[in-house]
């Protein structure tokens, strides 16, 4: 444990021996943390390690069961998020917390708006301040449009703008970069550096280790709710950090098995959805993992949705195991053996207030219904089976899904679809926002499924993941398939060239 507490300035914000439990789950046990002015401090740990809980304790959302929160060295009790904010603590939570009906400007300044005479809101000043913030972040979002319908990345940007909108002494960010593109992250880091120079303390969570090494001075690691270490980042290697987080040396991150592809399982022919994607044709064979690469917005998710029948297509054909699918009918796609693990698990993959077992059971309703009644026993045993196979970390299988950490939620989504025994599995950004340990597990699982003869189509913006896992790489650019690259020829350069439309495919 090395920190400059004896010499330099006092910590602005600190936790001392904090414990917090949710029922039987001990999310934090005896965790201490000190944030100094002018430092960017990383918080590392696997999914479920307690990072978000720690942040919510600092933000006044949770009250610690034991231990203290110290502000400028003095013990404080935050009675709610408002108290923490008034103390100068800005928080970007892991899940966006926007008001869909209100404008972006209102979202940013909710609760702290510029005022005119008689306490009225100064709408003009609010708007101008929003425009200035957007400029500072280098994005082009209309301050007057409502937050409804914003992409996850744009929601995240609004969250960041919200946190920057007041002169915070402490900025806390829970995985702010999970959905952002490279240039957006670079801009965010520029802003973070400025804040650091102005003397703010920044607490930063990310599963992208290289981001931690890039911007953070010190790192605190948590494992299973326990404090493991607080140390300077300098002199550490990524492997050191992973070992702290996981508690062991990590197996291979891309455990791809060699498989000889079987017959064609999924065949997409000249699929077109006007204005979204055009003339998309490809095949996925049994046992194959086909990567679908491209920039965010290239139309990959939209193709997956159309193939699965969520959106209608305007022309073309989708054939599974030799049988054409009906346009716009997810139920026939499911019957044909297709499964889709969506990108936005909160909105599309899970019923957050329902139990883990019911969520896993949702897709199998037809097989676990007996004489019109649900067979709860069958549902439970099937859910347990998959939860165990995927090593989901939960207290009880009857707990609601929203109590799980992000990586475990993703496993539940996977379990839900794997429980249908699919022939063709489409996964959209399967490891976004997931820690390295869980990521390796998901990769192992995909590889095993392929080895069992499942045809896998993997959409991913994580290039190393595509290169490490795919037998073949398809690349999309502006709604068209621009390249098909064999595993042996796929490199970052060849894929990116096609993704940006620079290659003669």
């Amino acid at each position: 444990m090395t920190h400059p507490s004896d010499t330099g300035p006092a910590p602005v914000l600190a936790l001392k021996d904090v414990a917090k439990s949710f029922g039987a789950v001990r999310a934090l046990r005896g965790v201490s943390l000190e944030l100094f002015p002018g430092e960017v401090h990383a918080l590392a740990g696997e999914n479920g390690a307690g990072k978000s809980t720690l942040i919510k304790t600092l933000a006044g959302v949770h009250r610690p069961d034991a231990g203290r929160v110290l502000l400028d060295g003095e013990p404080v009790v935050f009675h709610g998020p408002g108290d923490a904010r008034d103390a100068g603590i800005a928080v970007i939570y892991q899940e966006p917390t926007l008001f869909p009906d209100l404008s972006i400007a209102e979202n940013i300044f909710m609760g702290r708006r510029p005022r005119r005479a008689l306490g009225r809101i100064d709408h003009k000043a609010t708007r101008a301040a929003t425009v200035a913030l957007m400029k500072r972040l280098g994005v082009d979002l209309d301050p007057d449009r409502p937050a409804r319908g914003l992409s996850i990345a744009d929601q995240q940007i609004v969250e960041i703008a919200k946190a920057l909108s007041f002169d915070a002494r402490v900025l806390i960010m829970d995985e702010p970069t999970a959905a952002l593109t490279g240039s957006e992250v670079a801009r965010l880091f520029g802003v973070v550096r400025t804040l650091r120079e102005q003397g703010a303390a920044v607490l930063f969570i990310s599963h992208r280790l290289e981001e931690i090494f890039e911007i953070c001075g010190r790192v605190t690691t948590l494992r299973d709710g326990a404090w493991i270490a607080s140390e300077p980042v300098d002199g550490m290697t990524e492997d050191d950090l992973v070992r702290r987080m996981v508690g062991r040396d990590l197996d291979e991150l891309y455990p791809k098995q060699d498989v000889t592809p079987g017959e064609v399982a999924l065949s997409v022919r000249r699929l077109t959805r006007e204005g979204v994607f055009t003339d998309v044709s490809f095949e996925v064979r049994r046992g194959e993992i086909v990567g679908l690469a491209g920039l965010v917005g290239a139309g990959r998710t939209e193709v997956a949705r159309a193939v699965f029948g969520i959106d209608r297509w305007d022309a073309g054909e989708v054939v599974v195991d030799g049988r054409p699918l009906t346009n716009g009918a997810p139920s026939t796609a499911m019957t044909a053996g297709l499964a889709l693990v969506p990108e936005d698990r909160r909105a599309q993959g899970l019923v957050m207030d329902m139990s883990i077992e019911r969520n896993i059971g949702l897709t199998g309703l037809r097989t676990t219904v007996k004489a019109g009644l649900m067979d709860r026993g069958a549902e439970r045993s099937r859910a347990l089976d998959w939860a165990v196979r995927l090593q989901v970390k939960y207290a009880r299988i009857a707990d609601t899904v929203n109590t799980l950490s992000g990586g475990n939620q993703q496993k539940v989504v996977l379990a839900k679809w794997l429980a249908t025994g699919p022939k063709v599995l489409i996964v959209d950004e399967p490891t976004r926002g997931i820690d390295v340990g869980t990521k390796a597990e998901v990769h192992r699982l995909l590889s095993e499924l392929a080895a069992d003869g499942v045809a896998v189509l993997m959409i991913s913006s994580d290039l190393p993941e595509i290169l490490g896992m795919a037998d073949r790489v398809l690349v999309m650019h502006e709604g068209r398939l621009t390249a098909e690259i064999a595993r042996t020829e796929a490199t970052e350069e060849s894929v990116m060239a096609a993704a940006t439309g620079r290659a003669a495919a």
Binding site: T181, S183, E492
Partner: protein
């Protein structure tokens, strides 16, 4: 392999963009649509019966609408916070009788009105406390208070009745008088309406009502005093129901233990027809007021056209379903328009190749793992 240089992409000054205009337009349209339906209905009736828009006719139209407009205004605030107050009918009834009893005993009209409002405020506070403290849906809680207040009212009132003869002349005159065709009561309702609309748009706490109806969890995280706001909305709603009770007394002069029975359903219909979304977060009190006006005038239009008034209820129902259907369709359209807009913006933003290469570089996780094929 990490990126450190934030490159300077040209950033356009954010224009007052299509998204907001689109939504603005939809909501203005929503209110304009009700206004149009209302005006067409009046015009048709006038064409069929030229007596309809006489001075007395207009006055009746406004008087009938006034009380519903008041209660609907209060109800809108509650519905905007993703709650509902079903006890407004009972509150209206008991405040009307209380004010009547007080006046019958020789009380002052102004104090009688204040008394009715205070009584309503009291019941509003009760509702607000129960809803904001208990983790029970507002629908159930206020259904409970609906019966409790009605029960208390019945026990207290029994078979008694207040009639116009029990009331001072000045109070009755206030109920029927006005500036030419515009009754005093309508003016009061208008003032309340405009003030409420202004408050909702221009005050932080007003916007917070929308925020907490739009996403309650986010409201909590934003430090909005959720309980306090809900309590305030219910109190305001109760107060207006009380005021409406006093007005009911002034207008009709006739109150018994069943006054306001079933009124809550009319109020909720008016609010929903007026475009206040039942799941909270959006809608305006002007819309609700127009909805109230529309629903009440149907009851005047039918007799004027010689149609049996039994059709009134069925027509109300059809309007309600129509309103919900239209809202649903519009919401889906707007949502997909907004999605398209944001997708377009992103594609445009993601175009520069440099940027793309950077995004690839950034995602390298562990050296040496990627190319183990």
């Amino acid at each position: 392999m990490t990126v450190t240089t934030p490159e300077q992409a040209p950033v356009a000054e954010a224009p007052r963009g299509g998204g907001a205009r689109l939504v603005d337009r939809v909501f203005k349209m929503r209110e304009l649509a009700i206004l149009a339906v209302f005006l067409v209905m009046i015009a048709v009736t006038q064409a069929g019966n030229s007596e309809f828009l006489s001075e007395q006719g207009v006055k009746d139209l406004l008087l009938n609408g006034t009380i519903l407009v008041l209660v609907a205004t209060g109800q809108s605030l509650v519905v905007i916070t993703r709650n509902v107050d079903l006890s407004v009918g009972s509150t209206l009834g008991i405040s009307a009788f209380a004010a009547g009893t007080y006046l019958h005993g020789g009380g002052d009209p102004v104090i009688a009105i204040v008394l009715a409002v205070l009584l309503g405020v009291g019941f509003g506070l009760l509702n607000g406390l129960l809803v904001s403290l208990g983790q029970v849906p507002a629908l159930v809680v206020t259904l409970g208070t609906l019966y409790i207040i009605r029960g208390v009212d019945s026990i207290w009132v029994g078979s008694r009745q207040i009639t116009a003869a029990d009331l001072p002349g000045s109070f009755v005159d206030f109920g029927s008088g006005g500036v030419s065709a515009v009754p005093w009561l309508a003016l009061i309702a208008l003032v309340v309406l405009v003030a409420t609309a202004y408050y909702l748009k221009h005050y932080g706490s007003g916007r917070e009502l929308y925020a907490l109806g739009s996403n309650p969890e986010a409201a909590r995280l934003a430090g909005i005093p959720v309980r306090k706001r809900i309590l305030a909305a219910y109190t305001f709603c109760g107060g207006l129901a009380g005021l409406a009770g006093a007005m009911y007394l002034a207008r009709f002069g006739n109150v018994d233990s069943s006054t306001g029975n079933g009124y809550e359903l009319t109020v909720v219909s008016a609010v929903v027809v007026g475009g206040v979304v039942f799941t909270g977060g959006s809608g305006s009190v002007y819309g609700a007021a127009l909805g109230a006006l529309l629903l009440t005038s149907i009851n005047s239009v039918l007799p004027a056209l010689g149609v049996s008034s039994v059709w009134g209820l069925a027509i109300n129902g059809v309007l309600l379903l129509l309103a919900i259907a239209v809202d649903r369709i519009v919401a889906v359209r707007v949502a997909s328009a907004l999605k398209r807009k944001s997708a377009a913006a992103r594609t445009a933003a993601a175009q520069t190749p440099v940027q793309a290469a950077q995004s690839s570089a950034r995602t390298t996780v562990r050296k040496g793992d990627a190319h183990d094929a």
